[in-house]
C-alpha cells in the first residue's frame, strides 16, 4: 500500500485527520485498524476534522468506518466535521448515517453445564417424541389401508408397481452379491475352525441355520434400510420442502394414502422376496466354499443341509421379514415428513432415518428371537 489510509495531527485541542488511498472493501481490515488507532486519540481532542480529499475510492465499507469514527466523537458530545468528500459519495455517507442505530440483539449467555443438561433432556424428549411420531405414522398408514380396503379403486397401483421395480427388482443384483459373499465367509470360517475338531461337516449346519434364521433376513433388511429407506426419506423430504405435499393435501388427497401407503406396502412385500433370494444366494455361496475350500462335494453339502435344517428355520426367517419391511418404511416416511426448510435438515433426517431403522430392525430381531425361543420354534 503506497498511501497512508489515515494520518492524524493534534493542533492544540483540534485533531486533524487526513484520509487517503482506497477506503474500500479489500482494504477494510487495515482501515479498521487505522480507525481504531485514531479513535484512541479521542480523549485528547475537543473537536475533530476529517479531510477525505485524498481518498480516491470509497464504498460502503469505507463509508461505514468513517461513520463509526465520527460517531465515536459525537457520542461523547464533541464535534466531528467531514470535509473534502466528493459530491457523489455524500449519498453513501448519508445512507450509513441511519444504520446500526439500535444495539444488535445480544446472544444469550448460558452456563455450559446447564446447556449440556438441557441438551441431554432435549435428547430424551426427542427420543420419546420419535416413538410417538412412529406410532402416529403407523396409525395413519393403518387408517389409510382401511380406507383403501373399503374402496380398492383408490389404491395407487401404478405407483406401487414403480416402487416395486425400484425397491425389489433393482435391488436384486446387489443383494445377491452381498449375501453370496456373507454365506461364503460364514462357510469358510466354519470350516476353518471346525476342522480343528475334525467336524467340518458341522459347518454346513452353521451356514444353514444362521443364514435361514438370522443373517439372510438381517443383512437384507439392513441393505434395504440403507438403500430404499434413505431414498424414501430424501424423496418425501424434498417434496415437503417444495410444498408438493401441501399441494396434494389442498387438492383433497391424503399424502399418506397417495405417497406413503404404496411405499410401505411395497417394502412389506419386497423384503420377504429379497430375504428369500438373499438366503438362497448365501446358501449357494456357502456350498461353493465348502466344495472348493472344505472339499465337501455338492451332493454331501445338500444331503447334510437337508438333515440340518427344517422348514421351521426357513419360516422363522420369513416371518420376520415383512415386519422389518414395515419398520423400515414407517421410520423412513415419518422422518421424511419431518424435514424442514433447509438442505441441512434433509441431510439430518435422512441420516436419522437410516440409523433408526437399522437400530429398530436389530431390536425387532432380538424380540423375535425371544418370541420364537419361547414358543419352541
Amino acid at each position: 500500500m503506497g498511501e497512508a489510509l489515515l494520518t492524524h495531527k493534534l493542533v492544540g485541542e483540534r485533531l486533524e485527520l487526513a484520509a487517503g488511498g482506497s477506503w474500500t472493501a479489500p482494504h477494510a481490515g487495515d482501515l479498521e485498524a487505522a480507525v481504531e488507532r485514531v479513535a484512541g486519540e479521542a480523549p485528547k481532542a475537543k473537536n475533530v476534522s476529517i479531510d477525505m480529499g485524498g481518498v480516491h475510492e470509497f464504498d460502503t465499507f469505507g463509508a461505514w468506518l468513517l461513520e463509526r469514527l465520527t460517531r465515536h466523537w459525537t457520542a461523547a458530545g464533541r464535534e466531528a466535521v467531514v470535509v473534502g468528500l466528493p459530491e457523489h459519495d455524500l449519498g453513501l455517507l448519508e445512507e450509513m448515517h441511519g444504520v446500526n442505530r439500535e444495539a444488535p440483539p445480544k446472544p444469550e449467555r448460558v452456563n455450559p453445564i446447564v446447556a449440556s443438561l438441557a441438551a441431554f433432556g432435549r435428547g430424551g424428549a426427542a427420543f420419546g417424541r420419535n416413538l410417538l411420531v412412529f406410532a402416529e405414522m403407523l396409525g395413519a398408514v393403518g387408517l389409510a389401508l382401511g380406507r383403501v380396503i373399503m374402496k380398492p379403486r383408490d389404491y395407487r397401483l401404478t405407483s406401487t408397481v414403480h416402487q416395486l421395480d425400484r425397491v425389489a427388482w433393482q435391488a436384486v443384483p446387489i443383494i445377491l452379491l452381498i449375501t453370496f459373499l456373507i454365506g461364503a465367509i460364514i462357510s469358510q470360517q466354519g470350516i476353518f475352525h471346525f476342522r480343528k475338531f475334525g467336524a467340518e461337516l458341522y459347518s454346513v449346519d452353521l451356514v444353514g441355520i444362521l443364514v435361514l434364521r438370522e443373517i439372510g433376513v438381517l443383512i437384507v433388511a439392513i441393505m434395504v434400510a440403507g438403500r430404499s429407506g434413505s431414498s424414501y426419506t430424501a424423496e418425501l423430504g424434498s417434496m415437503k420442502m417444495r410444498e408438493e405435499i401441501d399441494a396434494l393435501r389442498t387438492m383433497g388427497f391424503d399424502p399418506v394414502e397417495v405417497l406413503i401407503l404404496p411405499r410401505i406396502l411395497v417394502l412389506v412385500v419386497a423384503l420377504p422376496i429379497l430375504a428369500f433370494i438373499g438366503s438362497m444366494a448365501a446358501l449357494y455361496g456357502g456350498g461353493l466354499v465348502a466344495w472348493l475350500y472344505g472339499g465337501l462335494s455338492p451332493d454331501i453339502y445338500i444331503a447334510r443341509l437337508t438333515d440340518a435344517i427344517s422348514l421351521t428355520h426357513f419360516k422363522v426367517g420369513m416371518i420376520k421379514a415383512p415386519f422389518m419391511g414395515l419398520v423400515i418404511g414407517i421410520v423412513a416416511c415419518a422422518e421424511g415428513l419431518r424435514v424442514k426448510g433447509s438442505a441441512e435438515s434433509l441431510g439430518i433426517q435422512t441420516t436419522n432415518s437410516v440409523v433408526e431403522s437399522i437400530f429398530l430392525v436389530i431390536v425387532l430381531d432380538g424380540l423375535f428371537a425371544i418370541f420364537f425361543a419361547s414358543i419352541g420354534m
Binding site: T24, A25, P26, A28, G29, E32, D59, T60, F61, W64, L65, R68, H88, G91, L92, E95, M96, G98, V99, N100, E102, P104, P105, K340, G341, S342, A343, E344
Partner: protein, 259 residues
C-alpha cells in the same frame, strides 16, 4: 463524445444445448453505471445469457468481457478477482438454507476479506438496513423469510462486497405489485448511491419503466432492439410492438406519455 469502455462487452456469442441454438451471434454492451433491462419471451434465452456471462454455462463461440477481463481466457486468480467484483441475485434467492440471513450476507465477506467479526457484524446489519430490513431479521433462517424478504436478503448478499456490477435474474417475479415497486425503487436508489452497473433480466414491464435506463430485447437468439423506453415504443419489431404496445404495455405507455 468518447464513450467510456463498457462494463460488459458481449461479441458474437453463440450458446446452445445439444442441437438447439439458444443465443445466435449475439452482441451486447452494458455501459458503466447504467441499469440495463433484458426482456424477451419465455425461453428466448435471457437467463441463458446471464448465466453465460457469469460463467455458469459454456459458450460455443464469441467473447465476453466483464470489466475488461474475458473469463474464458482468465486464469483461476483473475477469475476469482473478477468474481469478487460482481454480485448476483438469483431468481429464487439461492440463500444458503442452513445459514441465517446475517451469515448469508457475511459469507462472501468471510471468504474474501480479512476483517474483524465486529466489523463483519456491523456491515451485515448495515447491508440489511440498506435493503430495508431490520437487524432482527438477520437472525432468521431462509425458511422463515417471506418471498419479498428472501429477495431483499439475497440482494444484500449480492451487495456484500460492494460489487461494481450487479446481476439480477427476475428480481420482482413472485412479488406483489407494491413490493415489486418498492424493490424497483430500492434497486434504483442503491444503484445511484453505490454507482453500480446493473444487468437485470426481467418480465416486469413496470420495472422497465421505473428502474431501467436502457432496455435490450432478445428474440431469435439476438438483441433485436435496444434503447430507452421511447425507442422501444417506436420499434417496428413484431415482438417488441406486441410487448410494449399490447394490453398491459399500452397502459403504461399512455401513462408515461401523459405524465
Amino acid at each position: 463524445m468518447s464513450e467510456p469502455s463498457p462494463a460488459i462487452k458481449v461479441r458474437d456469442l453463440v450458446v446452445g444445448f445439444g442441437d438447439q441454438t439458444v443465443l445466435n451471434h449475439l452482441d451486447l454492451d452494458v455501459r458503466a453505471a447504467e441499469i440495463l433491462g433484458v426482456v424477451g419471451a419465455s425461453g428466448a434465452g435471457k437467463s441463458v445469457l446471464l448465466r453465460t456471462i457469469i460463467g455458469l454455462l459454456p459458450r460455443r463461440h464469441g467473447s465476453i468481457e466483464v470489466l475488461g477481463t474475458d473469463l474464458a481466457h482468465a486464469d483461476e486468480e483473475a477469475r476469482r478477482a473478477l468474481e469478487r467484483r460482481w454480485g448476483i441475485l438469483f431468481q429464487q434467492g439461492a440463500l444458503f438454507s442452513s445459514l441465517t440471513a446475517k451469515q448469508n450476507i457475511q459469507f462472501p465477506m468471510r471468504e474474501n476479506l480479512d476483517i474483524s467479526q465486529k466489523l463483519m457484524d456491523e456491515m451485515a446489519i448495515a447491508k440489511l438496513e440498506m435493503v430495508g430490513l431490520t437487524p432482527q431479521d438477520g437472525g432468521k433462517f431462509p425458511s422463515e423469510l417471506s418471498g419479498g424478504m428472501t429477495k431483499r436478503v439475497a440482494l444484500a448478499r449480492a451487495l456484500a462486497l460492494d460489487p461494481e456490477i450487479l446481476f439480477l435474474d427476475e428480481p420482482t417475479s413472485g412479488l406483489d405489485p407494491i413490493s415489486a415497486g418498492d424493490f424497483d425503487e430500492l434497486i434504483r436508489t442503491l444503484q445511484q448511491t453505490l454507482e453500480i452497473t446493473v444487468f437485470m433480466v426481467t418480465h416486469d414491464l413496470e420495472s422497465l419503466y421505473t428502474a431501467c435506463d436502457r432496455i435490450a430485447v432478445l428474440a431469435d437468439g439476438k438483441v433485436v432492439a435496444d434503447g430507452p423506453i421511447p425507442v422501444m415504443l417506436e420499434s417496428e419489431h413484431p415482438w417488441v410492438r406486441a410487448y410494449f404496445q399490447g394490453k398491459r404495455g399500452g397502459m403504461l405507455a399512455e401513462r408515461q406519455i401523459g405524465a
